[in-house]
Amino acid sequence: MNPELLRNLWLEASPIRLALIAGLVLLVFAAASAVPPQWGSAESAAQVLYWFFVVLWGTRNAALSVVAEIRERTWDGQKLSSIGPVQMMWGKLLGSTAANWFGGLLCLPPMVAPVLAGQGPRAALLYAGMMLALGLFAQAAALLSSLMLVRRNTGNWRLDTFLCQVAGIAAAFSYFTLWRSLDAFQTSGAETLVWWGQVFNLRAFHLVSLMVFLTWALIGCWRMMRAELRFANGPFVWLAYLAFLCVYEAGFAPWLVHRLHLDAAPLFDTILRLVMAVFTLTATTYSMVFLEPKDPVRMRWLGEQLRAEHLRRAFLALDAWMLSYGAALAASLVLVALLMARGSPLVLPAAALPGFLTRDVAIFVLVRGVAQGKGDLAALAILGALYVLVPLILRGAGLEALLALFLPRLGAPPLTVIAAWAQGLVMAWLALRSIRPGIREKLKAA
């Protein structure tokens, strides 16, 4: 047996704990059967307990599976072990949540039984599969978040665990809400969905999407675990994920065109897909530049590799935010070229967007460099000021026309492109200066 799973079972799934969980579940079911039907049923009680065991408590245990090792100073020992990243990931994901799954699996039959009775075995199987995948997705999201926070080394394990738990719960809840909303779609007669020109059953598409995103979450956990265990990751899996995101979302473009009654000309279809890709890549860049450590030492090392023309070594060591930024820039470039060819007025905001993105990314790097490895919240506050306070002030002062100098806007004058890139380049220059050694001391001296 996987030694990490075995150790977690020793710690988390003691006979006493399992007996207590079983006793609690039986008591709740007995109580639910005894009360009047309008107060609740065994099915609703099972649902509440499943969410409690698998999602609420399970995400906490999944997040703690690494955070607690660091807190208890056992993580170094694990990193030095021969346990591979796949074993370590499954050992932690399933082992730390073993008791939760025990409770969850006890709740599953009462949840599925009404679906089986009302809609048949296929629907019951789909529902059970969805609930299991949902639980695993929530826990994988929590573990992935905790592995990302571990790299940031915040030192606040309680807050870290809570945030990871929230991430896991949010992942599960958003998916479940979407699943429940399908009933409304189906009631209105919309039982199918068009994706890349193909017609899919709504519920099946939804379940397959969950499985695909669950797979990506597990791949993410595996890669983060590899990094923790000192394996070199390389950029290709992240680039594949970015490509998947763009392709997945672009598949909905015809549906969007249809729903929004847009121009369905082929070129416009392509542009719409590119716009979606640019937005996706931009959003990913913002997420990753906030979440990743942006270690000035590592960035300095990357700079030295580039100066020494060790391009392959530098490329293989690029962080996810750098790759996302590069992909966003490349997609923006293609979009601008297509818009120019079409003579579209959208070319100006499209050209300004990567300039503003450059500025914002550089703000994160700059603040992190000056604060020597901290300061992401300060960077977030600066961006908050740029995107919320400045517009409020300019609008209040009747200078709304100047807004295009600070953020991308439709119908902006050509100056917006110059302003965006001027800010982007200046901030990038400052950010590069900030990762030099001893910058903090120099600033203090100044």
């Binding site: 208890e72 100073r73 030095l80 000192r230």
Partner: protein
């Protein structure tokens, strides 16, 4: 066996190691000493392939920590200064897990756990929970976990910290036994007096550098370490001593010297006679128990004087 070349390690905001180079020979016990914050722990973590250096390299058995960290992990055991144990698990389960985690098959893991426990004197406490052990016994369990897979290299960060005198003596014995079994040990410590019990070489780390630029021989069975004091200072003492057969001068000035002398009582008597014959007013000439401390403070102090 362990070779460090121009090792540089940066934390955001400061450089912890400044181009450290050293070589640790196989089957030796090398002590890393130095003030708090000198870079000892960072150095050990770089050796353990837990940290990636900014520049330079660490190789163990020819394997580079940057290129093959996992292969290096399989070859070494590491005990951090602040270690943790799975307090709820019994000693047997802790060691069984450590064995399995280091790639020992399930059929052999129980035997490996028993052997490691016996080695550190925990064989009679196998069913006791790790959390119920005393500080000294926890230390032993942590060492047992680090050696359960019989690594070629063992890195110990402050293993004697917080131990009572008896536990320290037991630790010294254990380290010597492990070396005798063929392990290469690097031990970071604050307690200079104990280093002589088990270590053969001492490396003083100060402000991220190796003080004096090289390792210092702590103890040599064939060469006694002697302290020589003069009643009247003599500038030619160091040169005179350097010319004498079997003598290695560790430190010397006009008032005295610290040296090693290869040989036994007759050689010692001959050296004393030569000194007196050459006109040196010898006031003391004896084996030195505080030599390590003197060398340490001489190196660290000279480091502090440097800009």
């Amino acid at each position: 066996m362990i070779v460090l070349r121009d090792l540089v390690f940066d934390y955001p905001g400061h450089r912890a190691l400044h181009g450290v180079s050293l070589r640790v020979e196989p089957r030796t016990i090398t002590a890393l000493v130095g003030p708090n914050g000198a870079g000892k722990t960072t150095l050990l973590r770089c050796m353990a392939a837990l940290e990636t250096p900014y520049a330079g390299s660490v190789t163990i058995d020819g394997l580079d920590t940057r290129e093959a960290p996992r292969a290096i992990h399989a070859r070494l055991g590491y005990l951090p200064d602040f270690f943790g144990l799975y307090d709820v698990l019994s000693v047997r389960r802790c060691l069984h897990y450590a064995a399995r985690a280091h790639g020992i098959g399930s059929a052999q893991a129980a035997g490996a756990a028993e052997a490691a426990a016996a080695r550190v004197g925990l064989a009679d406490r196998m069913e006791q929970a790790a959390g119920a052990l005393s500080r000294g016994l926890r230390q032993r369990l942590a060492i047992a976990q680090a050696i359960v897979h019989q690594p070629a290299v063992l890195l110990l960060d402050e293993p004697a910290a917080g131990l009572d005198p008896r536990a320290r003596r037991d630790l010294s014995r254990l380290l010597l036994e492990l070396r005798a079994d063929g392990m290469t040990l690097v031990v970071s410590s604050h307690i200079l007096a104990e280093l002589e019990d088990y270590s053969s070489r001492m490396i003083i780390v100060d402000q991220g550098r190796i003080a004096g630029g090289q390792a210092i021989t702590v103890r040599d069975a064939a060469a006694a370490r002697l302290r020589l004091s003069l009643a009247a200072p003599h500038d030619g003492l160091a040169d005179f001593l350097a010319r004498q057969p079997g003598v290695t001068v560790i430190a010397a000035d006009a008032a005295g010297a610290l040296l090693t002398l290869r040989g036994d009582a007759p050689e010692r008597a001959a050296l004393l006679a030569a000194l007196v014959g050459a006109g040196f007013a010898v006031s003391a000439f004896a084996e030195d128990a505080r030599a390590l401390e003197d060398v340490y403070f001489a190196q660290v102090t000279s480091g502090e004087r440097k800009p």
